[in-house]
């Protein structure tokens, strides 16, 4: 049972880490508090599930979900930079309208995918033929590991390009990067598109992994993403882009693990999940302060 729990939480941690990397882009790179997340995550699931049940290939469905997410980011970006609506409100507006849009896309609140072809059914067949001895219970783990790794690598490389540097400078010092000839509205929109594309991709994979898309599956996604980023920060710090993105993935795994740990002790029931998430975030955010407080009380300050 323990082994199974560990496997499940690592799997979940990896698949949700793609979403957390999206949150990392807006929160840490662009310094933009984007709340579109709670809408763009189920958007990916809705688009992928609807296309799959209407007979499209799961790969087409997943790629379309990525584009839909980028579109959601584009709208938040235009609301913020074009219509000059605040960051928070722009995200909330897109997120809220996405709830209705997701229902429209799905046509009903829930789409089961249990007997539908998904990227995993195709993958299982591929592995059965090509690597007959491969233990199929690890297929998700390996796939997600490759997926999260590939996306992290692409993100790290992207952030080393001239455009990537401009994005980082936009979050760090917008005045400076404007005086170097960069339109910060454009960099903000590009960052929001990439971020929400990743979040939507994560939603599309999660739907195929858990076997259904649900209109309510996005609630609290931003908090889970936030928790992963903060835990990663506490674990590995902000030395470089590679370590901090790796931290986000580790943070996501650790977060899923701690949640399933609490649930397995029957200290809480499944419906307490969102409350637990909030508690984890509060703890992660206050630990550094608590450390300082302890240090301050042990080593007396200079004023005495």
């Amino acid at each position: 049972m323990w082994q199974n729990m560990l496997l499940k939480s690592v799997e979940q941690g990896l698949v949700f880490s793609i979403m957390a990397l999206g949150v990392y882009i807006t929160l840490k790179i662009l310094n933009f508090a984007d709340l579109t997340v709670d809408g763009s995550f189920p958007l990916g699931a809705a688009v992928a599930a609807s296309l799959i049940i209407s007979g499209h290939s799961p790969f087409t469905a997943t790629i379309t979900a990525i584009l839909a997410g980028a579109l959601a980011g584009l709208i938040t970006g235009i609301l913020n930079t074009g219509a000059k609506i605040s960051e928070l409100l722009s995200g909330i507006l897109t997120m809220t309208s996405l709830y209705s849009i997701n229902l429209r896309i799905m046509g009903r609140p829930n789409i089961p995918l249990l007997n539908e072809p998904t990227i995993f059914t195709s993958l299982q067949e591929f592995v059965k033929v090509q690597f007959p001895g491969f233990p199929l219970e690890y297929i998700y783990l390996v796939t997600f590991l490759l997926f999260a790794g590939a996306i992290e690598l692409m993100l790290v490389l992207f952030l080393k390009t001239q455009l990537g540097l401009s994005l980082r400078a936009t979050g760090d010092n917008p005045q400076m990067i404007r005086s170097q000839g960069v339109n910060t509205n454009v960099t903000k929109i590009i960052g929001l598109c990439i971020s929400n594309a990743l979040i939507s991709l994560s939603g599309a994979i999660v739907a195929q992994y858990q076997g259904f898309a649900d209109v309510g599956m996005g609630i609290g996604t931003i908090i889970a993403g936030l928790a992963s980023v903060i835990i990663g920060d506490a674990l590995l710090g902000e030395r470089s882009i590679i370590t901090s993105t790796l931290g986000v993935i580790l943070g996501s795994i650790l977060y899923r693990f701690s949640i399933s740990l609490v649930l397995s002790f029957r200290l809480a029931q499944a419906s307490d999940l969102k409350l637990l998430t909030a508690v984890v975030v509060v703890i992660a955010l206050t630990i550094p302060r608590f450390k300082n407080f302890m240090r301050g009380s042990i080593i007396p300050s200079e004023r005495g």
């Binding site: 001239q162 760090d172 170097q180």
Partner: protein, 264 residues
Amino acid sequence: MLVLENISKTFNAGTPNENRVFEGLSLDVNEGDFITVIGSNGAGKSTLLNIIAGVIPVDGGKIYLDGKNITNLPEYKRAAFIGRVFQDPMLGTSPSMTVEENLSLAYARACNLSLRWGLTAKKRQIFKRYLSNISLGLEERLAEKVKNLSGGQRQALTLIMATMKKPRILLLDEHTGALDPKMAIIVNDLTERIVKEEKITTIMVTHNLEDAIRMGNRLLMMHHGKIVLDIRGKEKAAMTIERLLKKFEEVQGEKFAEDRMMLA
């Protein structure tokens, strides 16, 4: 080359805090000018630079650069031909990025939205050469985050970033104002050297009268949004602080007063 024609600007128009900074301000900057600008508090020195850079839109009047009307060009587009260094050492660089990453953004000024690598061995060589010119040891600290540099080092870096890709015009807004005296001298020397070597048309706002008289070929004194003195050539070369203050009193009929102005 740079012409300001009849510029007017009012902040908080129609409110009790209405502040009319410029009413019909005109200025003609010649190719190769190194202009120092001094003036009392609220004279509009920084606003002048912000208007030229496009940070603040004007209410009326026109701005021409090389005969082209740039009055409505947004800041990021003007950045292609305007280099800037601010008073606050925090403003000109990106603190959580490294020295070389900051330089890379300046090196690709106005063509930063590309997917080419930000850093290459060739670029690092170029950056090292620029940094070894200023003798602050920064060429050994390319991979250091800029937030770990001192204010003076950051200003020197900003100055390099502003001039690396030669701008048509360089705007310096009291760029040594927040530095300790020793570092201020180093940054001022560096400024003079770069401006001379690269022959960059420059406008430098300063609160140091001595620097204003010693540096550049033309001196503007501003007062209540007007250019009250415009001294150049031989007259500028023969100028002293006493003569300058006397001249101001003659023109304005009042004593020159600026809390932060350093007389020596």
